[in-house]
């Protein structure tokens, strides 16, 4: 029975034997368990990645790093910073609910997401969702006002799928190069870009 053809012949026959009906109680247990289990919202699932050659992928990763760098500088809260985008850049309103002069900064770091993201943020900020494709930074609970939104850093572009449950939309018209991203940040009046 150790010849290939013998094995293939007997395997089908042997696997064909055995129980083929599941007891009803199994489905009853499942029905009970899902009664206590809520569904994960669609936006929690990773989008399908675009197939990209290596170099654009590296460029996208560098662009992501640029976002982090800009975001980190913003989180430092340097009110005197000059706008990279030139005279169109507007200083952020001060002080916001998440950036107070007395708060001690927090060091935030990604562990799963690579390249590693390291940001010094105002007190109360935390890492929200450290995954293979993205890492999120969120403000303290109850934070409000300009600059209190979360920051999401992604390793690359993803296919955007229309989803009724997701109210997040990517910024329109922002390119993936560092210069374009810096320009986009500079045009945001709530962000101090240096």
């Amino acid at each position: 029975m150790t010849h290939d053809r013998d094995i293939e012949r007997v395997l089908g026959q042997w696997l064909g034997d055995g129980p083929t009906e599941v007891p009803d109680r199994v489905i009853d247990v499942v029905a009970d368990r899902i009664g206590r289990q809520s569904q994960r919202p669609a936006w929690r699932f990773p989008r399908r990645e675009l197939h990209m050659p290596t170099y654009p992928r590296i460029a996208a990763a560098l662009a992501a790093i640029a976002i982090v760098a800009i975001g980190g500088l913003y989180l430092f809260g340097q009110p005197g910073g000059s706008g990279v985008g030139g005279p169109t850049a507007t200083p952020s309103p001060s002080p916001s609910a998440i950036s107070t002069p007395t708060a001690s900064p927090t060091q935030l770091s990604s562990f799963t997401f690579t390249p590693r993201v390291l940001v010094q943020a105002p007190a109360g900020w935390s890492v929200d969702g450290d995954g293979l494709r993205s890492v999120g930074l969120k403000p303290p609970v109850g934070a409000s006002g300009p600059g209190a939104g979360s920051i999401l850093v992604m390793s690359g572009p993803f296919v955007d799928v229309a989803d009724a449950d997701c109210d997040n939309r990517p910024a329109v018209g922002v390119g993936a190069s560092s210069a374009e991203l810096v320009a986009a940040f500079s045009s945001d009046p709530t962000v101090t870009t240096t």
Binding site: M1, H3, I7, E8, G12, W14, E21, I27, V30, I34
Partner: protein
């Protein structure tokens, strides 16, 4: 009809989901039992897979792919469970506990015992490949689609699974001939 049920379940309708899985549970259970070689563990794996499927159902983009998606999820749960079990029982002799099989004129009790031991020696992912091919009758291209791997990889894995099964049977035969106890 099923597409409507899938859509309803994705929208949070638990009754629709239970209706969906009730018509598929026998087939899924059969697959799990063949991979895990144990009725109780197959029931556990099926339950876990169905609960995970409910939780993650909104991640399914195409409702027409529900069956393939669910089957892949079940196989992954079975492989994970079998891997944990193999680590736990690496030094124990595993005995068949499913009770006597139906009498068959072609396979002797000794043959079945040999196959059982040989199959249990295989890594869980190879067991799954063999079940897909020999029990469900899937061709490598269908195996590839089910497991989400390239067709060439599926062919290669199937070949290796056959080779591993043969090696396991030969090792078992040598153990018996030399007077030792089968693993």
């Amino acid at each position: 009809m099923d597409r409507d049920l899938v859509e309803a379940a994705r929208g949070g309708d638990r009754e629709a989901y239970v209706d969906l899985i009730r018509t598929r549970s026998d087939r899924l259970f059969s697959i799990a039992q063949r991979i895990l070689r144990d009725i109780d563990r197959a029931e556990d794996a099926l339950q876990d897979a169905l609960v995970i499927a409910w939780r993650d159902l909104r991640g399914l983009r195409d409702p027409d792919r529900f069956d393939a998606w669910l089957q892949r999820l079940l196989i992954n749960v079975c492989i994970a469970q079998a891997t944990r079990e193999r680590r736990r029982t690496a030094n124990l002799r595993v005995l068949p506990i499913d009770g006597p099989a139906a009498p068959d004129e072609l396979l002797s009790v000794a043959d079945r015992d040999l196959l059982e031991r040989g199959f249990r020696r295989l890594p869980p992912d190879q067991r799954a490949i063999l079940v897909l091919h020999h029990y469900l009758g899937y061709e490598p291209s269908e195996i590839a689609e089910t497991l989400g791997i390239p067709a060439g990889t599926a062919r290669s894995r199937l070949h290796h699974a056959h080779r591993a099964m043969r090696a396991a049977l030969e090792a078992d035969a040598r153990t018996i001939v030399s007077g030792g106890r089968p693993a």
